[in-house]
């Protein structure tokens, strides 16, 4: 993939550059919002690793332009502020990562983006599955380790949104719209439905492995689902 690293810290770019090249990507870099936009216009960028704290702009203001250019965006935040992350994700960012991050974590997130882009459009897929989970969207059926699970319409709606972005964080707002058609609905409803989903899907609902909470931001389906053709 062509990856654009946007970070005002030269040392971060200096470190990530050789590592990502070694992993087979080609790298462009920018230290300011201005140079990020001009570099983006010049090269066919697939993924932007975007630091939010840029000297000349808030990084989340750039997300719209990157998404408009069909690039994926992983936000990298040093401030760890939930509001910043939610804003970035609601502006269209695909995922986020807190600084400092493990290299394995970053590589995994990049792989999810890479695969998602290769499939180009899981929105049209009829069946998505992983080792444990299988969702047939045409029949609206869910199987966990081969066994049918009965879900209420709301539970199914929430799972579908999580599944279509599997491996990536989904904001509360997106889940609220999917379940209640209202982004301002009480988050308590969302929490209760997620807990019911966990009861039905997790091996041990008290320590969830499948549906992870991203506190203050949303939820993430940890298993990456791939379409069956």
């Amino acid at each position: 993939m062509n990856i654009l690293i946007v970070d005002d810290e030269p040392s971060i770019i200096r470190t990530l550059d050789p590592i990502l090249r070694a992993a087979g990507h080609s790298i462009c870099e920018a230290q300011t919002a201005k140079s990020a936009l001009s570099t983006f216009a010049l090269h066919a960028i697939d993924l932007v690793l975007l630091d939010l704290g840029l000297p000349d702009a808030d990084g989340s203001e750039l997300i719209g332009s990157f998404k408009g250019g069909r690039a994926s965006v992983i936000v990298i935040s040093a401030r760890h502020l939930e509001a910043d992350k939610v804003l970035a994700l609601d502006s269209g960012a695909d995922d986020y990562l807190d600084k400092p991050f493990g290299m394995a974590e970053l590589m995994a997130r990049i792989r999810v983006v890479e695969r998602r882009r290769a499939q180009s459009d899981t929105g049209g897929a009829r069946v998505l599955c992983s080792d444990n989970l299988e969702i047939d969207f045409a029949r609206r059926s869910v199987k966990i380790m081969g066994d049918d699970v009965h879900l209420s319409p709301k539970e199914y709606a929430l799972l579908e949104v999580l599944a279509r972005s599997s491996g990536q964080v989904v904001t509360q707002r997106r889940l609220m719209i999917a379940g209640w058609n209202d982004p301002t609905a009480d988050t308590q409803y969302l929490r209760s439905y997620v807990s019911m989903l966990r009861d039905k899907l997790e091996i041990d609902a008290s320590s969830p492995q499948l549906i992870l909470t991203e506190s203050g931001v949303g939820y993430r389906l940890s298993e990456e689902l791939v379409p069956i053709t």
Partner: protein, 488 residues
């Protein structure tokens, strides 16, 4: 009291004089003159003392005239109709003129008093305008009130279930205390307590103690006006204080914000780099060339040093905030400080040229060598960041009682609007693409001031470019032990 006595004496004198003059006029058979003299006396008294005294004078004159002067003498009543007519006319005229003139006089007196009251309230209001804190208010009016028969005024503000006197900080835990404090003493009836009420309800009370002059006592409406002015001033001051508090709060919020972004950026960046580099080195799926592995390891060491630097900067800021003890400071030769700071800088900036203009004669200042070195290093390091690769000049100048170290660079300079901010914690120039914490000059200032010095920034210094930061310290004589050590 005495003023009133004098006034009565004057009226009595006029009356007696008029009575004798009337008597003499009567003696020489000038009855009309006699009556006119008496009338003039009554008018004079009316003009002087107002309605009440005029009426008393008119009745007295009528009685005296009737008793002593008109026939029959030494008894009341009249002998003939001829006698009765002048007496009636005299009585009526005396009463009428007395009443008219007296009323006029009363109105004039009332107006003068009202004018005096108004101008007094204006003075009070003017004076109160200049009060900035609640504790000022009481003192502002203290000097004015004695002219109004008030010995003292105490202001108590209601604070929950107790009263606070802001001017002294005195606290009355029982709300009745200010009311009862003079009870049982002779002063008890010589004070009035009024409530101070502001736009948002009761503020507290004002207690006025009167002077011993009973006649000079102010009227209640006057005191109420003064109390209203006091309440207004107190409320204004309270609002000012609240505003100031809010500003302090928002300033500390801004500081917290800059602390948060500084820590998240300056602490997490090196950790991120170290973790990413280490993660790549340990990963089996990433195969790096040998020189790249070495580069990553070098970067890790660099970032460890950066973390260490940042940690010591935060500790330095903590020392400055906690206050640096000056009692352990000793004479330090700035020449040594200059050498140490330059050696330290060369480790970070080996390429930088430093032009020294130092005469190397001893320049002792009272301080701590470590603090002075750090202050000078930070200033030099800052100059190195912004010098655009041109040499940095360090000049030491000795005056009769002080010595200055001036660090000048030939970089682009600092805008006037930024100059006041460069010494603030976490301030980073917008134009700066350099890594840095925004603490260097803050620490330089804190350490310089802790050593009794001052720091000054000028920009531009030459041809529209460059920045000069000057540290100035008072010179001291070295202690004898050091002199002997130096000579030994």
């Amino acid at each position: 009291m005495t003023r009133h006595f004098k006034s009565y004496a004057w009226d009595l004198g006029v009356f007696v004089t008029a009575s004798f003059a009337t008597y003499f006029a009567q003696m020489i058979d000038r009855p009309i003159t006699a009556v006119l003299i008496y009338l003039s006396g009554v008018i004079l008294i009316a003009v002087h003392s107002g309605l009440t005294n005029a009426l008393i004078a008119a009745v007295a004159a009528s009685l005296v005239y009737n008793f002593f002067l008109s026939q029959p003498e030494f008894e009341f009543g009249v002998t003939s109709l001829d006698e009765a007519v002048p007496l009636l006319a005299f009585n009526a005229t005396a009463l009428l003129t007395g009443v008219l003139v007296g009323k006029l006089k009363d109105t004039a007196i009332r107006e003068r008093r009202a004018n005096a009251d108004a101008s007094f309230l204006l003075t009070v209001s003017d004076r109160l305008q200049s009060a900035l804190t609640v504790s000022d208010v009481e003192g502002m009016v203290r000097g004015l009130l004695p002219t109004q028969g008030v010995r003292s005024v105490k202001i108590f503000l209601a604070r929950g279930d107790y009263y606070l006197r802001p001017s002294t900080g005195e606290i009355k835990s029982d709300r009745l205390d200010p009311l009862l404090e003079d009870l049982g003493t002779e002063r008890n009836d010589r004070s009035v307590v009024l409530e101070l009420s502001g736009a948002r309800g009761a503020l507290g009370i004002a207690k006025f103690a009167f002077t011993d002059d009973l006649d000079a006592r102010p009227k209640l409406p006057d005191l109420q006006s003064i109390t209203a002015l006091l309440a207004l001033a107190i409320e204004r001051c309270l609002l000012l204080e609240q505003l100031a508090e809010k500003q302090i709060l928002s300033r500390s919020e801004a500081l917290k914000d800059s602390l948060l972004s500084s820590i998240s950026h300056d602490l997490r960046t090196p950790i991120t780099v170290i973790e990413a580099a280490a993660g790549a080195l340990i990963s089996e799926e990433i195969s790096l060339a040998d020189n790249e592995r070495r580069n990553l390891l070098r970067t890790m060491i660099e970032q460890c040093r950066r973390l260490d630097r940042y940690t010591s900067e935060l500790l330095d800021v903590g020392r400055i905030q906690a206050g640096i003890d000056r009692s352990t400071m000793q004479p330090v030769d700035l020449n040594d400080v200059v050498n140490l700071a330059i050696r330290q800088l060369q480790q970070f900036e080996p390429e930088l040229t430093i032009e020294r203009k130092v005469d190397r004669s001893p320049a002792n200042v009272l301080g701590s060598a470590a603090l002075l070195e750090q202050a000078l290093f930070n200033v030099l390091h800052n100059a190195a960041k912004y010098c655009s690769g041109k040499p940095v000049e360090l000049a030491m100048t000795k005056g009769p009682s002080s010595v200055s170290l001036a660090v000048s660079d030939r970089g682009p300079g600092i805008g006037t609007s930024e100059q006041s901010q460069v010494f603030e914690r976490f301030y980073k120039s917008e134009r700066s693409k350099q890594e840095g914490t925004g603490l260097g000059l803050f620490i330089a200032k804190g350490f310089t001031e802790a050593c009794g010095g001052s720091i000054l920034l000028e920009s531009p210094i030459d041809g529209g470019i460059g920045t000069r930061v000057t540290l100035e310290f008072p010179l001291v004589e070295p202690t004898t032990s050091e002199v002997s050590m130096a000579s030994a």
